[in-house]
Amino acid sequence: MAARKPTEKTLGESLRERGVSRRGFLKFCAATASMMALPPSMAPAIAAALEKAKRPSVIWLSFQECTGCTESLTRSHAPTLEDLILDVISLDYHHTLQAAAGDAAEHAREQAMAANAGEYLVIVDGSIPGPDSNPGFSTVAGHSNYAMLMETVENAAAVIAVGTCATFGGLPAANPNPTGAMSVMDLVKNKPVINVSGCPPIPMVITGVIAHYLTFGRLPELDAYNRPMAFFGQSIHDRCYRRPFYDKGLFAKTFDDEGARLGWCLYELGCKGPTTYNACATMRWNDGTSWPVEAGHPCLGCSEPKFWDAGGFYNAVSVPTSASGMNVLAAGAAGAVVGGAVAALAKKQTKTAVTHRQPVTVEELEAKL
């Protein structure tokens, strides 16, 4: 995949070359339309646009990350149309997937940037040690992550931050954030940044965003965290198949009780579904096989900011992140001491007033008139 220039073939031509039938292609377009919450009538328009679309050059930068996002993307649906879509974009630079190494790999990135200035997409996974951090905390080919990101996005059309580390800082930015890790949107201010959060994100979301970009030539509608509304517009809780149990008040209390076996709501076991926006409940994982809540585990809220610092994974959403009963007792004890002191002072003042009382007779008062 090294130093490959974007071909002049359209996406439609590339797909046909790879044996994807017209029917399969239209099915993908219809699925994309419904996934992106577009009316079904948009499917032919998507098909027409994708047919003609030129393969965009994509530079994938990996910084402080675990490669889980790439693993998710490449392994979960193998081999499907989504993989091909990824393949038919011109992925000119990707640490894990590219064959080239060393100088040749870096050369591919520079060449793609020069050949497609202003048009290429940058995908980032992993957080970045901020400009004030030690540049040696994370480097690629001798460049600090920060320098490489800023240089690469300079002439990009848009930046897609993939995974919670790139979108919100993720694990590297968790308290006490030893590397001063920052997210892409913290650093890139002059380019459109689209966030695809999740640890890892759902592969279809990444391909869906790229398909949307190819179809409409612009990025999809975004939420307050720059995430595509089509995938992050609804919470896990609102689309959860266990929701009826929440509404009825039927909860699993432990992982092996009757409620857990009957598939009741996992709220008490710490499910962060109510505060988490992602498409797991509808799109599911491993080619639609299952997803964490279906497997009996509460949602961790991995697609939300600060999810590592949001209190225990197994504490209910309503439980405070740091307060303990001991703190309350200590505060109460301090209050009791202060209250006792105030009362003692008041008693003493009363006593003093009584001993220093100077009686006044009526005659004395009248004399003052």
């Binding site: 919470s235 109510p274 505060t275 303990s324 209050g335 202060v338």
Partner: protein
């Protein structure tokens, strides 16, 4: 704080600690002061016991006598409705029980969520009725102070945001949940320093009244 999730985490973390500390310190200051000030020694011989009448008065003063009901049926009925509704929503809603359990280790069974939502809706209507009554009743209007309206607003905000959060009527959800937690924290902070202290002092005062009557041998 750039977004709703950060806001929610702030209300669940640092702000909760501040609120619960002010609440615990303030309340214990008030209660310790009340108890330690004590009362002037009564040298008269007691005519009867204090405990029985004290405990009885805690109940009898809670249930309005027929005369009070006839004079102010609205106050009695609506007051009861929203107090019971508020307490049920506070103590029998599962997320609230989970919060109490995390702080105290104590827990008890919750009511089904639809019951709580119904009770909360009734409480909201009753609270609005109390405000309208307060603003239109010729006597109540004149004796109401700024504190009365502040306390009403805080209580109403807690119930309203909780109701909005339950029905997920504000998007994004972390924003409305954060607003609910923040308004509850404001209530906790105000509690020791306003008439909200009655939550903890009412029954103490009723016991004291009954005990004083009992000691004198009069009906309590």
């Amino acid at each position: 704080m750039s977004g709703s999730m950060e806001f929610l985490l702030w209300t669940k973390g640092p702000m909760f600690n501040i609120a619960i500390a002010i609440f615990a310190i303030g309340l214990l200051v008030r209660i310790a002061e009340i108890f330690m000030l004590g009362r002037a020694k009564n040298f008269a011989e007691a005519r009867a016991g204090e405990w029985g009448p004290g405990l009885r008065t805690m109940v009898t003063r809670t249930v309005a006598d027929p005369g009070t009901f006839q004079r102010a049926p609205f106050n009695v009925v609506v007051g009861w409705v929203w107090h019971i509704g508020f307490l049920m929503a506070l103590l029998l809603f599962l997320p609230h029980i989970a919060l109490i359990e995390s702080l105290t280790g104590l827990s008890w069974p919750a009511l089904p969520n639809p019951v709580i939502s119904l009770v909360t809706s009734v409480t909201l209507v009753a609270l609005i009725a109390t405000l309208v009554h307060r603003m239109t009743h010729p006597v109540k209007k004149r004796i109401s102070t700024v504190e009365d309206y502040v306390v009403w607003a805080v209580v109403f905000a807690v119930v309203l945001t909780g109701w909005l959060a339950y029905y997920r009527l504000v998007n994004p959800y972390p924003l409305v949940l954060g607003m609910h937690i923040l308004s509850a924290e404001i209530m906790l902070i105000l509690l020791p320093f306003t008439k909200l202290t009655h939550i903890f002092t009412t029954f103490i005062a009723r016991w004291y009244n009954g005990a004083a009557f009992g000691r004198k041998g009069v009906q309590s």
